[in-house]
Symmetry: D2
Subunit: 379 residues, 4 copies
């Protein structure tokens, strides 16, 4: 077996997502063996000269820049990976695609549904391969859930309920950051956490036709300035296939650190999941026990040899971490770029990125008007 | 110590609630020692002569009737306990009160908010002691949660999310019963399960000011006839104190048998609960650990000597059952009747019964109109 | 349906076990309908006149005595229920049987294996029905486990591990009680908790052929005197069927209030249980899922209509409590006395009581000698 | 900040441990920033030419060999990492040390206590830095447990119980491998799993003074040959500090895939852990709640910024995987080699490796003789 040819990678952003994506690129080159393409880390861009220089040395990029336009201008870069702040998603991503680079853009795609649509359309028009960074599609347990759903093992879906809870804003003395500023972030819990939930709702259950919502900013003033985004939202969702449920996100849920939990109830079974235990899937299958005397949710440790992505890892029972989802995500993207697969349906394309943003916009609209909002995606 | 004087009890209904209430009366007479009043089971009424006769013998009632009016006419009956079907709540309860009997009526109080209001008003006008059967206020862990909330241990409340999930209708071949008929039941999951959730929302967090909702009847035709009530509902709720959340109920959640689960997030801590593990309360208290190095939800087994109601029971760690909540509920009622306490705030009065029904009506209205509904209780 | 004829009950002990057994007798008369025999509570005996008089009034006994011999002498008493301290097990139980009364004796049966053998032999010789109070055989989940084991659903058994953990002695300032005095209690954690574990080991897996053990008294001096029994023991056990495992008990396990937990691993499946969640059985069945993609322990809520004992109770999902096991236990005993069943194999006879004590003695012997002890029961 | 100077690494074994260690070396160079030394992967050795050549390309080693002596002879190799089968631990490890290379040897150190002692003594005599691959000391939750224990937060330790359960041999048709052959593996569950448990027992609680044990080979014949090692063992252990407990391991526990679980009870608190949820530590601290009304084990997600090793990783709530423990382990080793720290007490030296093997030998001896074995380590 032989690894695939090299592909030049340029990255925007060296903080949280920069580290996570670098981890993915470096890991996939020996974990997913042989890799479809072998990432070559060309250039990383960020605002602070000293920090970006250190990031380049740390993560193994050959060059660095404080201006993202140098990334776009670098012909060695064939894949542009955008992990910058939300207000730097649109322009660089479009520019990269228009110079023929494949693009990966973090979520939420744009600051609004409108901007997200623009990014998707402009990029799609170029013909490059594109993906939006909904890495939770690449959690083994989430993929296994999708497999059960696709196979019809849960029957007709009745309910989907998801909550993405964090707690880092519960302390009112926590200072403002770019994430709390509408200009830079677009929205708060909604875009950061809620879009993950909307994306998995679509990936697992199907399209949402309508929703009703409310939003709150519990602490509008913090050290360092004003909070201009939401702290939390709640919504009731109605799927096109008849299922109904709730989707919510909050950064004010003490005791929940990164608890993205969902549950799906169907006519033949149910599934439950929590990102804090990302190697586990709770599975209930009606009538699957001899004599029917042992009904109950199974705690499935999604680490078996035949479970999604585990061919790349360890023997059963040896769990993977949150960071490892990027190995799967980037492996998927490189496979698509290599021509051996496609981003959709298992990866989120920029079209999916747009749709998640459209749903986030619907939440805002419903919260403001107090009415149920019908979802109408643009093509 | 000496038990209190006798009080004559008359009961309407000998099925599920008849058994549960009889269990409560019989148990409290030796478990809650000394009982404030000693229940004397006088007469039980129900439609089927043979069944009600057997129920009388089984539960220890001195007499039985097929006509509930005989209960009302029996002067020995001082407390009328109405566990009949929902469409038999209004008339007998009002009649009993108007002959001077104290009344306990199961939930949901009336078939609609309007009827519930009528029951409350007519009963309250008589001056008797009245209670609505929201027995989940009498779960030790729920009461402990209330104590933490009252003491301010959770700080300002940000979120309340509750789901009451059962699964008995997931099978489309399950036949219709009175519970699926609007004439007899008023509503489906909404009245049967949802009112429990609304009652605890009010008891624990406070009044709900507005809500948005949707409802579904997934299987409208079943063996034996049409289903004229809801199978499930979802709602977003907004509390007067600024908290937001979701409340839902379903009878289509496979794997969840009687899972009434809620979570509350406040600025100083969080609480989570599931009725399937009714002896446990998950408690998160910010900053309570030395050095702050062991944050996390505690699994509190609510069976300590100083925990609510446990003075009546066993040594720590020896759990109680669902049926035992009726011992606590009826003990509370008899204490109020004896003059040693009051139904409110820990018991639900018929006023609380009305308010839960008003919230249920708001769910219907919001689901039908697609708009957020402001709650305006009548006085 | 009609309840069975009356049977006169006499009880020794009005404290913890007196309350629990009274609860069982009173409850079974309407919960297990129709009861095989209808208990009539005749006389209760205990040392303190005032306390026993109040217990009689509270639990509904017609008479009371401070001398247990009056119980034996009372011809109306047909069943003698011994819930007194351990050093009052032998003489009254034998005396009762020898006057022709059926007997139920709490565990541990005698203060030693020798005394236990004597009790069993003397009682068995009289021909009365006899039972030892191992109530955990009457937990629905334990009975369900037994059914799976009997049906061979777990295959050949490889391991049994049980731990019975409490925490009430962890505080060294907790004062001595009769339970810490060898004269009155015989042993400590070993007899009180360990015999439960040995009994379930035998009931579920089979006879133990050999064991190796150690014991400790961590705090030998307490307020009020010396501790002359063990605080904890650990043992390795070898079953006749080839399985091996561990059995331990301690009163020094902080955070574990009444955690009697066991796990069984077989060649086809596994089972796990914890008394603090007594309505749940964790069940793993190899190969039971379509495609084998969802292996994992199921959390079975043992509350289904067809689960053990649940015919007597509530709809699925409505859990029972620790005290309710006595309803099942006493119903089983009365069924045996009525001639409609037998104490063995599902109830523990005094022979089973003796065998548990023999195993406890083996623990002491092994701990003292440092050698593996082969078990040789006397016939 | 600047990464440390390069260190040449040579590795024996390219299978499970070869992959895990390569993962550790590659990851630490950018995750633990700046790394104390920068690993340079020089040469990997293994028996199969094609496989070792591919491993070299995959993991990034510059050269490869089919003879481990070439590794020893390669002067560029400064650290010898032995992840080969157990019967290749002694000779290569000693040879490497005697040429002045630092050594890391996987567990169990030798095939017997005697051989382990020889390895330790011969290596220690050379003065190189040495470590035994007990990677579970580098699980964040295990390290946090150690911190609580060292600080005295649990008080005097009463109990330690550990079980390391896997299930891959439950199927009798599973064929023999080198791990089931005494010549190559030394022992079975005992050396492979049990030594991990003995090592953590020593690391967390202290030295074991005596033990009693039993062992079993449930399936002595398998496809491909005879099984000459143990399938499982059970032991009772007595610590020098007075604590007692059980330690066991099995490969026949269906439903347990890599469940290395332990619990520690002390006079002030308790701790529980399961490797299948390696990011969580269950912590009980007596008296730590205001008013004492919320006692209970906390589920601590060991992912906080100030938790062990998390400075290298992600924001709170974003969990790590099993493979990531090697990043911590190798970072620790390189820190020691760099002179900025020492292997002991947090890493296991070869002395610790020897002691774990001595305890394993004691299990064999006790199982064979049926007597309690006192532990006497050689200096």
């Amino acid at each position: 077996m032989s690894e695939g040819p090299p592909i030049g990678v340029g990255m925007l952003g060296y903080a949280f997502m920069g580290k996570a994506h670098s981890h993915g690129f470096r890991g996939l080159s020996y974990l997913t063996w042989p890799p479809p393409l072998t990432p070559r880390l060309i250039r990383i861009a960020g605002r602070d000269e000293q920090a970006v220089a250190e990031a380049a040395r740390r993560y193994g990029f050959e060059d660095h820049s404080t201006d993202w336009r140098e990334l776009i201008a670098d012909d060695r870069v064939e894949l542009f990976d955008n992990g910058g702040p939300n207000n730097l998603h649109a322009e660089p991503t479009i520019a990269a695609a228009e110079t023929g680079k494949h693009v990966l853009c973090e979520k939420p795609l744009g600051l609004t549904g409108e901007e997200s649509y623009e990014i998707w359309q402009r990029v799609a028009a170029t013909g490059v391969t594109h993906m939006c960074g909904f890495n939770y599609r690449f959690v083994p347990a989430v993929r296994l859930a999708r497999e059960f759903l696709e196979a019809g093992d849960l029957g007709d879906i009745r309910h989907f309920r998801a909550r993405y809870l964090q707690s880092w804003l519960a302390d009112p003395d926590f200072a403002v950051t770019w994430r709390l500023d509408r200009e830079q972030a677009g929205s708060g819990a909604l875009g950061d956490l809620g879009t993950h939930a909307f994306d998995l709702a679509r990936y697992l259950v199907g399209e949402i036709g309508a929703l009703s919502a409310t939003m709150r900013t519990f602490v509008p003033e913090r050290p360092g300035g004003e909070v201009t985004v939401d702290d939390a939202f709640e919504s009731v969702v109605e799927f096109d296939n008849g299922a109904i449920g709730t989707i919510e996100a909050s950064r004010f849920a003490l005791g929940r650190r990164n608890s993205f939990a969902f549950e799906i109830n169907g006519s033949k079974g149910s599934i439950a999941f929590d990102m804090e235990r990302l190697n586990e899937l709770q599975v209930y299958l009606e009538g699957s026990t001899p004599g029917g005397r042992a009904p109950g949710f199974r705690r499935v440790l999604v680490t078996e040899t035949d479970h999604p992505f585990f061919v790349h890892w360890w023997p059963p029972g040896h769990i993977v971490g949150w960071g490892d989802t990027f190995v799967h995500e980037l492996h998927h993207l490189l496979t698509a770029i290599s021509g051996e697969g496609s981003v959709e349906p298992h990866g989120a394309s920029l079209r999916d990125g747009y749709r998640a943003s459209e749903l986030a916009d619907a939440v805002v609209r419903s919260a403001e008007t107090g009415t149920r909002v019908e979802i109408a995606y643009r093509d």
